[in-house]
């Protein structure tokens, strides 16, 4: 009898011991005098594993930070897990990070469905969910999800940029739109229509949609040509973008062709579609293309190359994702420095929502990170670029999606 009682007390004691730190550490979790724990998930395996390099380059950058003495004397302990781009695995791994590893915050979790799966959870637990690696617009919703913050320009932002350019340069245009019939396509469409504002009704002559499962979009392109559209906003993923560029070239339709950034890759879209057919396409960029020779003597680019050679030599120098990860790792280090000595979760999100004119080495010149408690979309400026048959050439001034042009 006494033995069971002893056991019971022991169990209770262990249980309480588990509770006490959880209660006491309500504000400062994952931070000691010498360390800050940061959690991350990335697809190191599975269908999206090409993006896994982002998780690795971030780790390499934190190693550099630690080698240089850390942040305010604290070393970064970066814990990153493979989720295979599978939402249930993301939930498991993020819960592990939050509940078992007790990280201060999670950062750069990659993918739209994967982040959707943890969106409610991190906000319920009040864990900062910073700079997520997805272009969806829903991450900028501080009213309902105050602990989540995006990073790259979201689809609506980009749609607004094109709308602003159309209004300024082709105010009398007839606009035809092709979009993928899902959240991604509708996000872009909404941004574009909002950007046109009152003029949208008058200017848009035809909207065509397609399913991601469709084999071809040829008939949509023919319809758009027959509508008499002189401006074409092409909201498609690479596979369909290739078809759209080819088909419109083949049938002799020559509108002002805006191509969403999702499909701006030279290797997977423009080359397969034909460089000649691609000439004159317009897209929006926010980063320096790491393969673009014009940055050869740029300080930010050279620093990145030096960093890659020293800390991540196995990473590819022609992979834009490695530039992306470098940028975002620098931004989180900046945020932590701005936190000073108060590394409570409340202050981390407060500072992340108080970034003013932060420059990152691989953002296009002039593009700056700005956030506020009501604006959880860090990058909202983009620059248009035209394809000259060889590469994207930026032109004109920066577009700020939410400032009157």
């Amino acid at each position: 009898m006494t033995r069971t009682r002893k056991l019971l007390i022991a169990v209770l004691a262990v249980g309480l011991a588990g509770l006490i730190p959880a209660l006491a550490a309500q504000t400062v979790v994952g931070v000691t005098a010498t360390e800050i724990k940061i959690g991350n998930t990335n697809p190191y395996s599975g269908p999206a594993s090409a993006y896994g390099t982002i998780g690795k380059v971030i780790g390499a950058y934190f190693k550099k930070v630690n080698d240089e003495g850390g942040i305010n004397g604290r070393k970064i302990n970066y814990i990153t897990y493979d989720d295979g781009y599978s939402p249930p695995k993301t939930v498991e791994m993020v819960r592990k990070l939050v509940e078992q590893d007790q990280v201060a915050f999670v950062f750069q979790t990659l993918g739209t469905p994967t982040n959707s799966a943890i969106h409610k959870y991190v906000n319920q637990e009040k864990v900062p969910h910073l700079f997520v690696a997805t272009g969806a617009t829903k991450w900028n919703d501080p009213k309902n999800f105050p602990w989540t913050m995006g990073f790259q320009p979201n689809y609506q932002t980009e749609g607004r940029v094109y709308a602003a350019h159309v209004l300024k340069n082709h105010p009398d245009a007839k606009v035809g739109i092709l979009y993928q019939n899902d959240d991604y396509g509708k996000d872009y469409l909404k941004g574009f229509e909002d950007g046109l504002g009152e003029a949208a009704k008058k200017m848009i002559v035809l909207k065509q949609s397609h399913e991601v499962t469709d084999p071809t979009i040829d008939s949509q392109i023919v319809n758009l040509k027959n509508s008499g559209a002189t401006v074409f906003f092409n909201i498609t993923i690479p596979k369909f973008a290739v078809q759209a560029i080819k088909k419109s070239h083949d049938i002799g339709w020559k509108p002002v062709h805006y191509l969403n950034n999702v499909s701006s890759s030279l290797a997977t879209v423009l080359k397969p579609a034909g460089l000649e057919a691609s000439r004159g396409l317009i897209t929006a960029l926010y980063m320096k293309e790491v393969t673009d020779p014009q940055w050869k003597n740029d300080k930010g680019f050279q620093d990145w190359v030096a960093f890659m050679k020293k800390y991540y030599p196995e990473g590819a120098l022609d992979d834009q994702a490695n530039g992306y990860g470098y940028n975002v790792a620098i931004l989180v280090a900046h945020t932590l420095r701005q936190c000073g000595n108060d590394l409570s979760r409340e202050n981390i999100i407060r500072q992340a929502a108080n970034l003013k004119n932060v420059e990152l080495p691989l953002l296009l010149p002039g593009i700056k990170v700005n956030t506020s408690p009501t604006d959880h979309a860090p990058i909202e400026q983009e620059q248009l670029a035209r394809f000259d048959g060889e590469r994207w050439v930026t032109f004109g001034e920066l577009f700020d999606a939410f400032r009157k042009q």
Binding site: S86, P87, P88, P113, S116, H119, K120
Partner: protein, 334 residues
């Protein structure tokens, strides 16, 4: 008789232990164990089909997805309480599985494996097609159910108990089905379908029925997972899920009820350990684990445990000075 008693006592002890876990483990660990139970239900379903009936399926992830989506859509669209969605998901998967089982009758072995594999490939894409219902590639975000009747349980504790209860009921039903007349017919078809038919077993009917029941089990598991993860998306149910379930069923022990649980533990925890050992090549480590397990335990974990059990009981009998007990019925059918 004593061995049966011992087994029942053992089962009760395991169940009692399982009921105690929520009060000693963290919510995160409970969540992991809940996932183990969900996998176990799905693997038992697959085991009925592959282990007992000899029909290969590389597509059970598809039924898992259908179960999850049936549950999610009912909750999201019609605000049906999650509890009701679970049996509905099971019934719908039963029908879908039965119907798929009819044409599958014409396919044997590897050909059936390929046909079911196509199911696993197709379902995530089909889900995107019905975007109005399924939310397309963005999926459906759900709310995690809270404990009913004001029970002082956290959502994780409550879901753990719910899943455990479903598991116990389904395993009990499954054991009764497989150990009785129907089970013998199912196994007879696997072992030699010509002689089974000669004995008067309607092979076509039984095969389709097993397909249906197997799909129903997996569908119930999917429905539970929708509540536990509180999110469904096509990316949650890729081809790899189907392969994972098959791995669990083989590693745990084909044609074994307890094997489903061992297999579920394997597919839940071993990939994580592999990741802890090597970040660079977790799947290579996982592969090594697989090969070692297959080499050391050719009849799965349940087979190995059964063998140890026989050895222990036999030595005890010998010590008692009696004749050795008659050979335990083949562990592949327990």
């Amino acid at each position: 008789m004593t061995s049966r008693l011992a087994r029942h006592a053992g089962l009760l002890a395991v169940l009692a232990l399982a009921c105690m876990l929520p009060f000693v483990l963290s919510n995160f660990r409970l969540f992991q164990f809940t996932q183990v139970y969900i996998y176990a239900i799905a693997i038992l379903g697959l085991n009925m089909l592959t282990g007992y009936n000899g029909q290969f399926s590389l597509g059970h992830g598809a039924f898992y997805a259908v179960g999850a989506y049936v549950s999610a859509i009912m909750m999201d669209r019609w605000h049906v309480p999650y509890g009701w969605t679970i049996p509905v998901a099971g019934v719908i998967c039963l029908v879908v599985g039965f119907l798929f089982g009819l044409p599958a009758l014409r396919l044997e072995g590897l050909y059936l494996a390929l046909a079911t594999f196509s199911l696993a490939l197709a379902v995530p894409q089909i889900l995107k097609y019905f975007e109005h219902w399924t939310g397309g590639s963005q999926g459906i975000v759900l709310s995690k159910p809270k404990a009913p009747l004001g029970l002082p349980l956290s959502p994780d504790q409550w879901l753990y108990f719910l899943t455990l209860a479903v598991l116990v009921i389904l395993f009990w039903l499954g054991a009764n089905l497989l150990r009785g007349r129907v089970g013998r017919a199912i196994v007879a078809i696997r072992d030699n379908h010509i002689s089974a038919e000669a004995m008067g077993i309607n092979s076509a009917l039984y095969k389709s029925l097993v397909f249906g029941v197997s799909a129903a089990y997996t569908g119930v598991a999917g429905a539970l997972s929708a509540s536990v993860i509180a999110f469904v998306a096509p990316d949650s149910f890729n081809v790899f899920l189907s392969i994972t379930l098959l791995i669990g069923s083989v590693i745990g022990g084909l044609a074994s009820i307890s094997g489903a649980i061992f297999g579920a533990f394997f597919i839940q925890f071993v990939p994580n350990w592999a990741q802890d050992i090597s970040k660079a090549a977790p799947w290579a480590i996982f592969g090594v684990f697989l090969i070692v397990f297959m080499y050391v335990m050719p009849f799965g974990i349940a087979g190995a445990v059964g063998r140890i059990w026989i050895r222990m009981t036999r030595s005890r009998v010998l010590q008692a000075g009696r004749d050795p007990a008659p050979a335990h019925h083949a562990h592949t059918t327990t």
